[in-house]
């Protein structure tokens, strides 16, 4: 087989496990295999390791160990946050505020509750950059608003929301109305590797993390639950995780999540600076091509996210051609999803259907080198030119 260069630019979908993380996990498959609930030495060894991981993550979040609830991933954590709040008797009905660009792991459970008649939902619009406006959020607050869920950074366009500012606005509202509501949840899965996770600065009550986006293992996630925030468990059984998430702990996964977060937060500044430079180089190179536009915010975006629309072509076709050249990215086009609509996130930013169908997302990571960006920028013009030659469409950019 001939050698083909492989450039993985889909780190927002998932990351490889960092070798140092894997090394820390391995003993917990074969040597320290006890059940943390068991009352003997192997069990105690496992429990100690889980407790240490819990403490380590709590420190990164500036939170308490008893506020950490390990789940089976970002989706499980988001579902526990949403369904958990509305499973509690006092809050079993009410109003929720979220944004138009949330991940399906938040939007779908909320829509489910709407269908069941349990909640009324306000979906905040976003501006052209993908940000919500604080004044919109404040205007949407009601005496019966129980939950506000706004993601920290967007998985498709990388736009960073002003979470701390939202948190302060909600604190003021609670103080004025002398109410503990609404609770504030943020999905920080995409942000965890690059942004500040201090829950005291962010003023969040619930925060979702995921191992597989930060060079940790798949199948493990975490929900931070601030003391005093009452949740109804969605999985009942042996009462693990203070009863909020029963089931024997995924010990190697938890060790891996803690190790991954430690590594990510320790190297944050340096890696962010490196990635931002590569990101801006890729954006500049792509925008230099004719009939392209950037999706998301020019600067308030994740250091590793590039999302660009190529007019007159369809994204899936470009993804396939790039795949054949060893470049792995993704698209918000309808043809690459199970729905007939293009990405709800890109459409929410006011981009036309035409442009949304031609969007490509490149998400950089540890492995990305400057020479990779050169290779992408060298390879992509011919592919886009070929697809445009095949396309009967020739849109006038002044309309887009």
């Amino acid at each position: 087989m001939t050698y083909m260069r492989r450039i993985y630019l889909d780190h927002a979908a998932t990351t490889p496990v960092h070798p140092a993380v894997l090394k820390k996990m391995l003993p917990f498959f074969t040597q320290v295999y006890g059940n943390p609930s068991s009352f003997h030495t192997p069990g105690l060894e496992a429990k100690k390791a889980v407790d240490a991981a819990r403490k380590s993550i709590a420190e990164k979040l500036n939170a308490h160990s008893d506020e950490m609830v390990f789940c089976s991933g970002g989706t499980a954590s988001d579902n526990l946050a949403v369904h958990g709040i509305f499973g509690v008797e006092k809050a079993h009905r009410g109003h929720v505020i979220t944004s138009a660009v949330e991940h399906p792991a938040v939007l779908e459970p909320l829509q489910h509750l709407v269908k069941r008649g349990k909640i009324e939902l306000t979906v905040l619009p976003v501006d052209k950059s993908g940000k919500i406006l604080i004044k919109d959020l404040v205007a949407a607050l009601r005496p019966d608003t129980v939950l506000v869920s706004i993601m920290y950074a967007n998985n498709e366009i990388g736009t960073i929301q002003p979470i701390a500012e939202i948190g302060r606005a909600l604190l003021r509202w609670r103080k004025e109305k002398s109410t503990p509501y609404p609770y504030f949840h943020t999905d920080a899965c995409q942000a965890a590797g690059t942004l500040d996770l201090d829950v005291e600065k962010l003023h969040v009550d619930l925060l979702t993390l995921n191992g597989s986006k930060i060079y940790g293992p798949k199948g493990v996630g975490l929900l931070f639950v601030r003391r005093g925030t009452k949740l109804d468990p969605q999985i009942r059984g042996g009462g693990q995780e203070r009863g909020l998430r029963s089931g024997t702990e995924n010990v190697p996964g938890i060790i891996g999540l803690a190790a991954a977060l430690e590594l990510a937060q320790a190297n944050k500044e340096k890696e962010n600076a490196r990635l931002s430079k590569l990101r801006d180089k890729l954006i500049a190179g792509l925008l230099a091509m004719p009939k392209t536009r950037l999706n998301g915010h020019p600067t308030d975006r994740l250091p590793n996210n590039v999302n660009v629309s190529f007019m007159d072509i369809e994204g899936e076709a470009a993804v396939l051609y790039l795949d054949a050249q060893g470049i792995y990215c993704s698209t918000g086009s309808a043809c690459a999803s199970s729905s007939l609509d293009p990405s709800h996130v890109i459409l929410a930013t006011g981009v036309s259907y035409e442009a949304a169908h031609g969007s490509l997302r490149f998400t950089l990571g540890h492995s990305t080198k400057s020479s990779d960006i050169d290779y992408v920028l060298k390879t992509i013009p011919d592919i886009i030119a070929k697809l445009r030659l095949m396309s009967p469409v020739n849109l006038d950019m002044k309309h887009f």
């Binding site: 994204g315 918000g332 396309s391 009967p392």
Partner: protein
């Protein structure tokens, strides 16, 4: 569905599902046959256009045919769409021109499923990406007859039957959408389509979406 299990899959943006393309699909996608590279000598050729970039697929087809035998001698195309849309149009252009070419009447009988068979199948939810090519072809055939003055051979017709039970066609759905039906319920209220035969509902909804995009840009 025939598909190569060795090929790399493409993961959807939702990350939820993946699929495979057959080797024939990939061949036609990466090495498209007969696509239009230079329109200058086709200014007088018969042409058909369907779809729009807003709805995700657009196809333009040019044909030339022998005036005596009415056999297609040349078929060129341009497609805006995904891998299966491009591969389907490419395969269609091969099918209508191979072995001396189809007659225009034969070409009118060409259906998306014939193209899909030759492609070795398409993943179930990519089928909707491949149903426009034959319509663009039929539109080009009508244009050919119009250009030679054979208006008796122009088939505006009642379209393609979507629901075998009610014999509702795509044209009926187009008219319902133009009459203001913007939900499945309203289309069903007008046409009773899919009520006895719910299997056709996904296709009805797709057509509604297509016509709504075409006429109302939504």
């Amino acid at each position: 569905m025939t598909s190569s299990q060795n090929s790399p899959d493409i993961v959807s943006r939702s990350g939820a599902q993946s699929w495979f393309y057959s080797d024939v699909v990939k061949d036609h996608f990466f090495n498209p046959r007969n696509f239009m590279q230079d329109e200058s000598s086709y200014a007088d050729a018969a042409m058909g256009l369907v779809g729009s970039p807003a709805c995700g697929d657009a196809m333009k087809v040019w044909i030339k045919a022998d005036p005596q035998t009415e056999r297609i001698t040349d078929c060129k195309w341009k497609t805006f769409g995904c891998g299966s849309a491009i591969a389907s149009t490419s395969m269609m252009s091969v099918m209508v021109t191979e072995n001396g070419g189809m007659t225009l009447d034969e070409a009118r009988q060409l259906k998306p499923q014939h193209i899909m068979e030759r492609l070795g199948g398409l993943p179930a939810r990519k089928i909707h990406c491949s149903v426009l090519g034959d319509k663009a072809l039929r539109s080009a055939i009508n244009d050919w007859y119009r250009r030679v003055g054979r208006l008796d051979k122009v088939e505006e017709g009642y379209g393609r039957i979507i629901d075998q039970e009610t014999k509702v066609t795509d044209k009926d759905i187009e008219h319902a959408v133009l009459d203001g039906a913007d939900t499945l319920e309203k289309v069903q209220a007008k046409l009773k389509v899919g009520i006895g035969n719910p299997a056709c509902i996904p296709e009805v909804e797709q057509l509604m979406r297509f016509y709504r995009a075409k006429y109302f840009g939504v």
